[in-house]
């Protein structure tokens, strides 16, 4: 078990290294392909040659790519200094560099965005998990009933709706037409829990709806499969009460795959829900990423990519471990 864990963690770190290397490589090449100058991005308006040279010197943009990558890794682990003569800027570990656009340190910039993305993802996750699984189970138990058909039709419609449409539609109805909910504007939980809740309600519901649709379909399929298994039939034949059969046996194995997917979905959402954040103007990691990409802000892109990949990789790891614990058929090792 321990050996397995070590191997998995080693693999995860390796994957992350490759992600950063590939990202770094691609975005290092981008300025070459588009004929632009990263130094110019730092400066923006005045294209003064002195200013450009100063920035190149300070940010080490003139170094070969592997040297730059090495410095990036060093910054990540040990922090690094940006120096241009007497002008030295220290960037503590984990240092992701400086934004081309705002000249802010990327790490705190992204840390500021994390609570937004976390609030969005976790809130929506709770909603869709409860909603999706509950409807899926009920549908499975009443297979073929009117309710089942209605739910499944709704779920199929749900998985066919893009959030950039449902989000706008929901805003049009609940914000502009009925006026029940405010325009989204993130309020930190500690500042005002009530405002935090109200402001996030619409994004939560919209995001959760899409996932719930998928989870309902998935849960139903898994439940049906489980209910058809021999041991359930045996349990029923033994005369166990239906409640025990469903609650204790069917649910447990029927929902095991859900755990897996849930972990992965959550992991990738935590890395930034680009579309949801774009639709609702929530300044989370995804929003930040989009802005950064549009402005070729390499350090920020690199930072977000790294964080997003980390969440996905960690989610994978956790899911595999949890899977091993709850599914007796899987043995880790």
């Amino acid at each position: 078990m321990v050996a397995y864990l070590i191997r998995r963690i080693f693999n995860a770190v390796l994957t992350l290294l490759v992600v950063t290397l590939v990202t770094f490589g691609i975005f290092f090449m981008v300025p070459k392909l588009t004929g632009s100058d990263p130094a110019l991005l730092y400066i923006g308006k005045t294209a003064d040659k002195v200013a450009l040279d100063g920035i190149r010197e300070k940010m080490g943009l003139a170094d070969p790519i592997m040297v730059q990558y090495g410095k990036f890794l060093k910054g990540l682990v040990a922090g690094r200094d940006y120096a241009n003569g007497p002008d030295v800027t220290h960037c503590p570990a984990p240092c992701l560099g400086y934004s081309f656009k705002t000249e802010q340190e990327v790490t705190p910039l992204l840390m500021d965005d994390l609570p937004v993305t976390f609030s969005l993802a976790l809130g929506a996750a709770i909603l869709w998990l409860i909603g999706g699984v509950a409807t899926g189970v009920i549908s499975a138990l009443r297979k073929g009933s009117l309710l089942d058909r209605v739910v499944m039709t709704g779920a199929l419609a749900g998985v066919s709706l893009p959030i950039y449409f449902t989000g706008l539609l929901a805003s049009a109805v609940f914000v502009y037409w009925l006026g029940w909910l405010p325009q989204g504007q993130y309020v930190p939980f500690l500042e005002s829990p009530a405002d935090w809740f109200v402001q996030l309600l619409l994004p939560w519901i919209t995001l959760a709806f899409l996932f719930a649709a998928t989870y309902a379909r998935l849960t139903r399929a898994n439940m049906l499969e489980t209910l058809g298994e021999d041991y359930i039939r045996t349990a029923r034949a033994k005369g166990l009460p239906e409640r025990t059969v469903i609650g204790k046996h069917a649910l447990r194995s029927g929902l095991t795959p859900i755990v897996t997917i849930f972990g992965l979905d959550l992991g990738s959402l935590l890395g930034g829900a680009i579309l949801t954040e774009a639709v609702f103007n929530l300044r989370g990691l995804g929003y930040q990423a989009l802005q950064a990409i549009k402005g070729n802000d390499l350090p920020v892109i690199l930072g977000v990519t790294l964080i997003a990949a980390t969440f996905i990789v960690v989610a994978n790891l956790v899911v595999d471990l949890v899977y091993g614990l709850i599914d007796p058929r899987v043995r880790l090792g």
């Binding site: 294209a47 040279d53 100063g54 003569g85 070729n296």
Partner: protein
């Protein structure tokens, strides 16, 4: 494509710097719905009058913006609203007077005790400083702090971002690299500026420059105490010389800023600032729609971006007289235009340029910019209506009638030797929705005259190396370039010179997009630089404007406007013509909260 490139909020509407407004005439009367008497709030009242005059102190002013500041370091900021907000914490030798209308364009002594003594040859400016002016830490403000602040602008390698006019004027061949590389013991090695004592500062110019004082009114010419200068980090804690200082640690990029009273500011030394609120909060939001609803609900006081409300709020405000009474549509001082590159065939031929002028549909371009109220008036020439020398009736291409002139366009095409039209490319920034829409509207209109334009979007952040690089423009064949411009200081030179003077053509960061090389235009600017009589200077600028229009280099879309809302509780609200925005330093709150 103004220099304040990044100043445009997501809205993509206008941003101003440079003058504006009704007081200087030129504002069309049809959008002035309200009357302005008695300082009461009314639609467009703040353009000409002070709305809710008051001297009541106290309360907290809640400023909002959808676009974060570029830099709080006075030497580095370039957004119009940041220059405007600098008035809260940065004093300069001279600053714009605190009043609405034309009188706001006049400079008043600020740290200087009086306007400078100017030598007969107009080359030496001598300022005497007020006594009793202090930084927020209690240190007295001396002439050396002002010189040091100006020297920092030269350190473009460390603190880039702001305007560099003063480098061009004050370096005079010295090759000064800024205080960080200064070998002088006191880091005051710039030779053209003298500080014989703490109360005197003398500027020596190489040639007469009638706009010089405007350059000294920019935030970068404000004082910086050398011992508190931390280079690039100064941006996170600039010293304050004005009535407000940054609350310690309150500068949070992307979130906001808090200003509190500067206990060392003495109102007796300051004739410009009112300093009414006890505290000023600036909140940065990502949601402009939300900001609009807060403004209308009264929980936000003003949008400091001043680039206009979004479509939702625009509709609400214009349809509800009660809301409309708290709104203004000042001219922002920007012109939105297409530049026709003379380096790209067939625009080397003036007739082909004229064909574009006539084929363009003035109304669809205006609608693309936001319509007559929120977008602006149809552009007719290249001097905004409020800069001295402009003439609202001057409409050489007959654009005010609002329709494309296909017959004229076809005649011009024939004269150009392209009776069957031609192909060209429209270059447009990808991060300005209104500019992309303008490009589409122009493309559709040109098609009617058989001019087939394809649209090429480029990364807006790369402006200075894409359309700002003449070699690139030529290589890529960007015949038509969509851009916009607002003046850095409110004179004809301030507006037009970077756009049309051949000596301003740069290999990178060029703003003379058509590559106009007309010695007679250059000569007129030189004449104006030596002209101290404003009326005569205005006549020169009028001539330049005519020459530019006759050359058909720039096709003006609109004289930009922005529909902005102000919270009714605001006192002393008026549009400052130097910024085309509310004068933030004058604002107070009536309810004391």
């Amino acid at each position: 494509m103004s220099r304040k490139t990044r100043a445009f909020a997501a809205a993509g509407v206008a941003l101003a710097l440079g003058l504006t407004s009704a007081a200087c005439s030129g504002n069309k009367s049809d959008d002035k719905g309200g009357t302005t008497s008695g300082g009461k709030s009314a639609y467009n009242a703040a353009i000409t009058d002070v709305v809710n005059p008051s001297t009541t102190k106290g309360g907290t002013l809640n400023l909002w913006t959808a676009q974060d500041a570029d830099f709080w370091d006075p030497a580095r900021g370039y957004y119009a609203f940041v220059w405007n907000l600098n008035r809260l914490y940065t004093r300069k030798l001279v600053d714009y007077a605190a009043s609405p209308g034309k009188s706001g364009l006049e400079l008043a002594p600020d740290l200087a005790s009086a306007m400078p003594e100017i030598s007969a040859d107009k080359l030496t400016y001598t300022f005497k400083l007020k006594t009793g002016t202090k930084f927020d830490d209690g240190a007295a403000i001396t002439s050396k702090d002002i010189k040091y602040g100006i020297e920092r602008i030269f350190a473009q390698d460390v603190v880039p971002g702001g305007p560099v006019y003063l480098i061009d004027i004050l370096d005079q061949g010295q090759g000064y690299k800024g205080p960080y590389k200064d070998t002088d013991a006191n880091k005051l090695g710039l030779k053209s500026v003298e500080t014989p004592d703490d109360q005197t500062i003398i500027f020596h110019l190489k040639k007469a420059q009638s706009d010089f004082l405007y350059l000294l009114a920019m935030p970068g010419a404000g004082p910086v105490p050398q011992k508190r200068d931390t280079g690039a980090q100064y941006n996170s804690a600039p010293a304050a010389s004005g009535p407000y200082m940054f609350k310690a640690g309150s500068i949070q990029p992307g979130k906001g800023v808090v200003w509190v009273r500067n206990p060392n500011w003495d109102p007796a030394t300051d004739t410009i600032r009112k300093a009414l609120p006890d505290q000023i909060n600036l909140t940065v939001t990502t949601n402009a729609e939300d900001m609009d609803s807060r403004l209308m609900a009264g929980t936000a006081d003003i949008d400091v971006g001043q680039t206009g409300v979004q479509a939702t709020a625009r509709t609400k405000i214009l349809q509800d007289p009660a809301l409309k009474a708290n709104a203004d549509t000042p001219a922002t001082g920007f012109i939105r235009y297409a530049a026709l590159a003379t380096s790209v065939a067939p625009f080397d031929n003036i007739e082909c340029r004229k064909a574009v002028f006539y084929a363009a549909d003035p109304t669809s371009l205006q609608t693309a910019r936001g319509g007559p109220i929120a977008g602006g008036d149809i552009g007719t020439s290249m001097l905004p209506p409020n800069i001295a020398g402009s003439d609202a009736k001057y409409d050489p291409f007959n654009r005010l009638q609002g329709k494309p002139q296909i017959e004229e366009a076809k005649k011009a095409l024939a004269a150009c030797g392209k009776p069957n039209g031609f192909d060209t490319t429209i270059a447009v920034r990808n991060n300005k929705p209104a500019e992309v829409k303008s490009a589409e509207a122009l493309q559709a209109a040109l098609k009617q005259a058989n001019i087939n334009a394809k649209i090429e979007q480029y990364d807006g952040a790369q402006l200075s190396s894409v359309i700002g690089a003449p070699d690139n423009v030529k290589a890529k064949g960007y015949g038509i370039q969509i851009a916009g411009w607002g003046a850095d200081y409110p004179t004809g030179s301030g507006y037009l010179q970077p756009l049309v003077d051949s000596r301003f053509i740069l290999k990178n960061g060029n703003y003379n997009l058509p590559l106009i090389k007309d010695p007679s235009i250059d000569g007129l600017f030189d004449q104006a630089a030596g002209e101290t009589d404003a009326t005569k200077a205005a006549a020169l600028y009028e001539q330049i404007n005519h020459k530019v229009m006759e050359g058909a280099y720039y096709l003006p879309f609109v004289f930009d406007k922005a529909l902005n809302y102000r919270n009714p509780r605001l006192t002393n609200a008026y549009i400052h013509d130097a910024f085309g925005q509310i004068d933030f330093q004058a604002l107070g709150v009536s309810d004391g909260k």
